[in-house]
């Protein structure tokens, strides 16, 4: 009798600014949510599948990661954590892993120099190396990048070729909106990727999650859905009790 494996993952995505948990809308318009350690403790108790922590400030301001905070976050968790933000060297990536983090997420550094992924993967393993792509639909195709834009398909293929173990694709337009996921975006990435894909942006219900499973993604990330509640978006940490996938 075979058993289930590779059950798809539902992943809270938590963003940090100044050490605090914040939530963006379309990657701007930030709202303060609360203390990240408290949030992580709650998710740990709820036995979520995995947590993604993104330090957008470290990324935007070219700062090195806050290793102390990362270590504290990791020590609260008996579940897998992925960290991204400000990771540009192999040594920093390894140091983040030594803090107790399971996967590093690389965004800008990959855009500037895709080969960094090969170097990081050969030090910490490809299954610990995630490439993150922020995608927007412009004119007639998806583009990724913050400072300079690249074609999504090309970026996905490149990430696969340089040895990333996983892809995290986020829809800039759907971010924080809880409107619905961009299924076309999810499908496009899955089509060009031999490595697992996690999609985030606009997810706010199990219906959305099921639609995403149908596109072939291996994981679904959500931020607003798990930190806000109700039409007035009051802060409340939550996570659904899921039937077996």
């Amino acid at each position: 009798m075979t058993s289930l494996t590779n059950q798809k993952r539902l992943i809270p995505v938590l963003t940090l600014r100044d050490g605090a948990l914040m939530k963006s809308r379309k990657f701007r318009d930030w709202r303060y949510i609360g203390d990240v350690l408290n949030a992580v403790k709650i998710f740990n108790e709820m036995q979520v599948d995995e947590i993604v922590i993104l330090d957008t400030q470290a990324s935007n301001e070219n700062r090195t990661p806050n290793f102390d905070l990362i270590e504290k976050i990791a020590s609260e968790c008996s579940l897998p954590i992925a960290y991204g933000g400000g990771l540009i060297t192999v040594d920093d990536a390894e140091r983040v892993i030594q803090c107790g983090v399971d996967k590093v997420i690389i965004n800008s550094a990959f855009q500037r120099n895709p080969r960094i992924i090969t170097d990081i993967a050969s030090r910490i393993g490809s299954s610990s190396t995630v490439v993150s792509l922020d995608a927007k639909f412009l004119m007639d195709s998806y583009m990724v990048g913050r400072n300079s834009l690249q074609d999504l398909d090309a970026a996905v293929i490149r990430a696969n070729n340089v040895g990333a173990g996983e892809l995290l694709v986020q829809s800039v337009e759907r971010d924080g909106t809880q409107s619905s996921p961009d299924l076309n975006l999810a499908r496009s990435v899955v089509l060009n990727s031999a490595i697992p894909v996690v999609y985030a942006g606009g997810v706010s219900s199990l219906y959305h999650v099921n639609e995403l499973w149908d596109t072939g993604v291996d994981g679904v990330g959500a931020g607003a859905w798990f930190v806000f509640n109700g039409p007035l978006e009051a802060v409340l940490i939550s996570y659904p009790l899921l039937p077996a996938k």
Binding site: T5, N6, Q7, S78, P196
Partner: protein, 205 residues
Amino acid sequence: MGVVLGKIGVIDAGIGNWTSVVNALESIGVPAFAAREPTRLNIYSHLILPGIGSFHNASKKLSMVGWRFGIQDFVTTGKPILGICLGMHLLGIESEEGEGQGLSLLKMSTKKLSADGSLRVPNIGWGELNRVVDHPILRNIEPGSRFYFSHSYGVERGLPVEISTTVHNKAFSSIVAKDNVVGVQFHPEKSHSFGKEILKNFTRM
């Protein structure tokens, strides 16, 4: 139930995430320490070898500073050792992942996971265990228990050391063991209460 009189050493040879394992053990009340000196492993009742990275690099590090001898000496005294993920691969002979020798404590080698099928490689996610043989490491592990896997390489199924299998595109060995040497492909320190049960069982071996 029962007092754990042991002292667990979690190897810190720069090849794995010892802090998470120590934290996990401490959360179940088991004293655990980073083991940094290969010549002083005899002070521990159990050893854990975590592993993140590549087989090639890890194998090189094990050859440094006397880790290989230290670990092999420990194992010949009959005390238990647990390899986690890459640490499990290192208990074997060699790996398709790269050059280098494992510790040859278990008769097995590591191969690339099959990409032939609908599932992607690496295998990242939660999986269940199919028990092949009874073993103390699986005590009280109920069906439905799930564990976190994150790997591109694994040990093929069907070897005499196999204790449990898990299915990806093809089944692979999720737990292997012989006498006092045990390996788990998943990360018990990242598998919530299910993983802690596995760690607890190991500390009682």
